[in-house]
């Protein structure tokens, strides 16, 4: 384990400072090129740079290449290639509005490097009960899990700082779980994700100076999913992601189909006169996590973000408990 300390430190420092240092010039560059979108939750007209996925993917590439140079594991290549493909898919969607099915199908293809590089174990491990061998079925899980993690993080990217802040909590929970399970190599592969998210959060938090866009949200979510697969912590990862899963679940259960947010006419949330967020009574609008949080009354954007982070922390603790339970077999 001691031989992993230097790669871990170097990759973490590079991950954090790459994003921390690249993002400010990226914000200026995007503003000059007029690559901005309005922040609809601000009273004044505020234009915010997008997509910040560019600095996120540079951070992922830099840190994971360093780890590959040290460890030369196929698992690292699989995580890296899958994340880059997810960024590319998101970037296409940032530039041109694609249909609701584009991202899930394209992300399913993005999962194939994990299969071709053999960077997975077809035994699915559960807490308390042990493992189940599902060699064929597991391939389907890989193809389904990557689009799910990517899209759930993308779907929670609705308020300033939520997607990146949520990823900080979820990915550090995953890293702690990997350390508990003594999967040290994958633990240090996962650490850069938390630090990339943390560095980006500095510019994404309220009031946002940059939005990650689909490219950033998908790159973060898919990297998280890929680490879950190659690290054999699929269940732990799913538990840490539960608030975002709830958001997607509520959305799909109320809309009853896969649809792009931009294609929905009904608004789940509106603004009060003092520009707090308030749940609407629109029956055509989807039920979302934010709408449920606002059911008791209007809150500021920052207050809603704090509530989401509390839920993320709760599920992060449940994920760590799940990892402890995985070491126990009944």
């Amino acid at each position: 384990m001691t031989e992993l300390i230097i790669p871990a430190i170097v990759s973490c420092v590079v991950a954090f400072f790459t994003v921390y240092l690249i993002t400010p010039p990226l914000i200026q560059y995007l503003q000059k090129r007029n690559f901005t979108v309005q922040d609809v939750n601000k009273k004044e007209t505020v234009m915010v740079s997008r997509p910040g996925g560019i600095s996120i993917v540079v951070g992922i590439i830099a840190s994971e290449i360093i780890l590959y140079a040290f460890l030369q594991l196929n698992e690292i290549l699989a995580v890296l290639i899958t994340s880059i493909l997810a960024f590319a898919i998101g970037y296409v969607d940032d530039r041109k509005v694609m249909g609701g099915w584009f991202k899930p199908i394209a992300l399913a293809f993005a999962a194939t490097p994990i299969i071709f590089l053999g960077a997975y174990d077809s035994n699915l491990a559960f807490p308390l009960f042990g493992e189940v061998q599902i060699p064929i079925l597991y391939l389907g899980i890989i193809i389904v899990l990557i689009p799910i993690t990517g899209n759930t993080i993308n779907s929670i990217d609705v308020l300033n700082g939520v997607a990146s802040g949520f990823m900080v909590i979820a990915s550090f929970s995953l890293s702690i779980a990997l350390f508990i399970l003594e999967n040290y190599e994958m633990a240090i592969v996962s650490l850069p994700l938390g630090l990339i998210s943390l560095a980006f959060y500095k510019y994404h938090k309220n009031p946002s100076k940059i939005f990650p866009g689909d490219s950033g949200a998908l790159a973060l979510g898919v990297m998280y999913g890929a680490i879950a697969i190659v690290g054999q912590v699929e269940i732990v990862a799913a538990v840490a992601l539960l608030p975002a899963v709830i958001n997607s679940f509520l959305f799909l259960a109320s809309m009853r189909r896969i649809v792009e947010h931009r294609q929905i006419k009904g608004k789940p949330v509106e603004h009060t006169e003092d520009f707090k967020l308030k749940a609407t009574n629109d029956t055509t609008a989807p039920i979302t996590l934010v709408r449920l949080i606002l059911a008791k009354g209007p809150l500021t954007e920052k207050q809603v973000s704090t509530q989401i982070f509390k839920l993320a922390t709760f599920s992060g603790i449940l994920a760590i408990i799940t990892a402890v339970l995985m070491r126990i077999t009944l």
């Binding site: 559960f126 064929i136 799913a238 749940a279 059911a295 599920s315 449940l318």
Partner: protein, 75 residues
């Protein structure tokens, strides 16, 4: 907010329970009457069983969601 925490906890318990069913019931299943195609039938059956479990899981979640958030959804 308590409702959301309760829903999260219910989902976690469902994941733990679902894992138990997967390991204790689905794991040991294997066919031995189809010769070289045993693995294919076993995999197909396991896949169908797992998909059924997911559908039941979603159905139970919908019921729990409606029960926990009945006031919020109605408003």
């Amino acid at each position: 907010m308590i409702g959301l925490f309760a829903f999260l906890f219910a989902m976690w318990l469902l994941i733990l329970g679902g894992g138990g069913i997967m390991v204790l019931i689905l794991g040991p299943i294997s066919f031995s009457d189809f010769g070289e195609l045993d693995w294919l039938f076993s995999s197909a059956f396991k896949a169908a069983f797992a998909i059924s479990l997911v559908i039941i899981w979603i159905f139970v979640l919908l019921k729990i969601k409606n029960w926990i958030f009945r006031k919020e959804i109605a408003s």
